[in-house]
Symmetry: D2
Subunit: 294 residues, 4 copies
């Protein structure tokens, strides 16, 4: 499929895995440190928050829900990659600053997406973790630019990317000196139309087999259906995921984007309770803030 | 995609689900009875056995392993759908009879595939459950023929079939008067090549949302990789599967087909032990024979 | 993807091509003879007719249109593989006999689909050519059964079959002693939903590169849209197809199936006129009946 | 699949097409003017050149071949999006300047890819047309940035983008005031592995049905195989393409990238000769430079 050949790689189970991300180059799993929270350890880490930052109230209320429900890292988009130019494009710089303010107020670090090389420096100044979204997994200048920062990076799999290409994109970041990369499976595009994407949970064991980087799963985008998030979240942890990233909104029915796939506060809290049992069944714990209600 | 329209259906979550399989037509889940073993109850049922019946010794030894490891139903192919006409095509009638003999000797019911309408009567006479394989999910004369028997049917999803088409194929069976149908997700074909297929675990909650029929998962064909069977088996149960069907061989390295995706006896026993914990974490139990060692 | 290995094959351009269908085993292209009409020669052969046989009037009028418009072989379904059991399933035996009668009355041979091994003998007695449809490309007992007849076979590519699997299915037929096989590309299943399938015209040069068998294209099923049939029909001939199979109906808006992708008589005649020019631009002719109006 | 809704659109044949690109908003086809060469008129325009600019000699010799063979616009990459960070990444700024110098020396305009928003101003200063590549079709900041220039844009379809998403990406460019956009089909990703991508020629009539923008095809990336470029190039023109973009290299076997899919000078000249006949068969001409040898 891909005509390129590269020199520095390991062949693992028939796959070519580039030099820095492959498991042969580094026996121990990498742990990624987001303001003291470790991803890739024996504990499972939950990221949660709204699709987009919409307003101070929305973000504040949702962030409180996330923290009290047991989420460790807040997610929220300020720069939104929308298929149509006429859809809400996010609050931009103002949204990033709002995330920073509320994150500090509540005491929960946050990850937010950066799409434009010109914005990497700005976002890296405010955010605790940079997200490279699915649509930009093949955006190599952006990968290099986040690789030059010293911020942890959440790299989402392209909806059309093979496992091999996904690891090559991670390698772009590591090749610039930044090894703090978390891989995120978020659903691939197939012929099936009953779900928004097809969540490829086999990517979890495969990525962990090939690479030392931590792997998390996004069941919200992976399914596009609120009621399908709980079973797929459980399945992801059972399959060995190091964490989950989920959309939660304090009022899903009023969300400016992705409301149909966002959990309500109650649904989130209930799910966290159920996830604890699954984590224990595979010998792990869900990492929780001190005062979580779950 | 599909141009047909049919009269008798329910629309559930945007999908057209035909009349007999849809959940609106029957509120209670269907339980399928295979010689007294119920599939679709609160207990999870494990099917296991070799890809193909190869010899009396191979089948007997593997069947013992299956039963002692906690498997409730033996699987094994006598008529094998092989991509190449020059590959081992299975033992045919003799294989079916061998399955029957060993099944009775060990005390474990069995399921085996039927591919040809002319063989349905014969296989139904010997087997406890008829399998319609992935390659024949669109073989409508075969679906009608197994629908005319009074044997339970294991219907595997076509590797290219949408959820809607899968349920329409089940409807073919029910429309002939046989409602004893178990649906099996076994991986779909995508662009990804690191696994044999892409196991679509979101099919589990989707099928159970749309239909009252039980749903099981085949992680062996779904991944094509022995070491990936355990994490995906756990994930399937966490996502709500009513059972699993897995390839087990007493000597995987000597198997005539699919040895690379077959579990050894020890791997199977260890996995069963782990699956018990996952089942309990979702409020279920793995149904086990009385003298299982797990 | 496929774990099987077979002994007798040639490797051509990275593909494994089994022994009887591969081009290395037979330098000359195979020509398939349907009642004296040769497919695979320098002339391009057009198959046309309705999706399904509906009535004597419908078939007779459409057959006349096909012949006067320049079609050489009539197509029409008597056994229809429908996704839903509640859709029109075809006229069955009666439809086959009607095809035979009208074929002889008009003086045009016909091809019709067979889906059930039990019906192969009957259909082979009446039809000039047997079709194995897309949904049955992996139905190996059926492939063997048509391989045992001495009738030419039109084998359609499975909607999610690789080129390698397609040739292996053809090999099943040849392995039984019948080398009169025409391969038909009819669209594959992809993520794209604006067309019914994605017509893979690169299959034409690829199949002719790997195999000596003739290759035709079905732009009606390949697109599912009447207005898209003409450009794709032209493209297929430009890419080297040995023929086309198209749906034509004397009254498309009243068709019991696939009316939206069927050409009207006038559209068919106009298209045939345009196809002549394309064929000549690639150094070929469209084979035409003596009294065609085009 | 996509959860967004946008206000300003037309529904054409079941597809939602945004306001500026849709055919209902503008009855006449758009012609795109690249230094006086019109794309989207009755004449077919050929773009050709190397995958990557490698050296002055390589580019000069290939550019001469392109022009003498009948190509109207030179293509060549200076910024190369490579899956691996360890592959040749292109000559960068120097490559863009070399393209400009040789373009002016030979008298042929050129198109080159831009991947980084920070480079759009620079590339727009030198190039006659800007290319947004397949991997960046969903890179919305880049689309907006090229939309703010007054240079024509060649927008390639993402390898897993639907037709609807492709048109939405074009709309991003038009929404910034730049309507000089040429759409390019370059193959989509499917399960088929015998070709690099699956060239979706049905995209040509579909895009022209939905939009007023011109459509060209890239058979080099679409197939990944040199010998398959000629039949697919012919097919593209037969299906109604307004042009082609093809990889030509003066010494394909020594190319630093994509040599296996690049035509030699002789192959290119022969193909151009054959394409003239196809164009005439559909009532068009290939636009040629005054002193072309074809």
């Amino acid at each position: 499929m891909e005509s390129d050949h590269y020199n520095d790689q390991a062949i693992i189970g028939g796959c070519s895995v580039p030099v820095r991300v492959n498991r042969k180059s580094k026996a121990e799993p990498t742990t990624v440190n987001v303001n003291g929270i470790l991803i890739g350890s024996s504990d499972v880490v939950i990221f949660a928050g709204p699709c987009a930052v919409e307003s101070h109230e929305q973000l504040l209320e949702t962030a409180k829900t996330v923290k009290s429900g047991g989420g460790m890292i807040l997610r929220g988009g300020a720069f939104k990659p929308r298929s149509s130019p006429y859809n809400f494009q996010g609050l931009g710089d103002e949204g990033v600053k709002m995330l920073r303010d509320i994150s500090r107020e509540i005491g929960i670090p946050f990850v937010t997406e950066v799409m434009d090389t010109r914005k990497v420096e700005f976002v890296a100044e405010y955010a605790d973790m940079l997200q490279v979204g699915s649509r930009n997994m093949h955006n190599y200048p952006l990968l290099k630019e986040v690789g030059l920062t010293r911020k942890p990076v959440l790299l989402k799999r392209g909806m059309m990317a093979t496992i091999e290409e996904f690891l090559l994109s991670a390698e772009y970041i590591l090749s610039q000196g930044n090894d703090q990369v978390v891989l995120c499976e978020r659903g691939i595009r197939t012929f099936e139309t009953s779900t928004r994407n097809t969540l490829d949970l086999s990517a979890i064991p495969m990525l962990k087999h090939l690479s030392h980087l931590p792997v998390i799963v996004d069941p919200s985008h992976g399914t596009g259906l609120r009621w399908m998030v709980p079973p797929m979240a459980k399945a992801a942890i059972a399959a060995g995921a190091d964490g989950l990233i989920m959309e939660v909104h304090y009022k899903p029915d009023e969300a400016l984007c992705d409301g149909h796939q966002s959990l309500s506060p109650d649904e989130f809290t209930q799910l966290m309770y159920d996830l604890k049992k699954i984590a224990q069944a595979v010998g792990r714990e869900i990492l929780m803030p001190q005062h979580a209600v779950v």
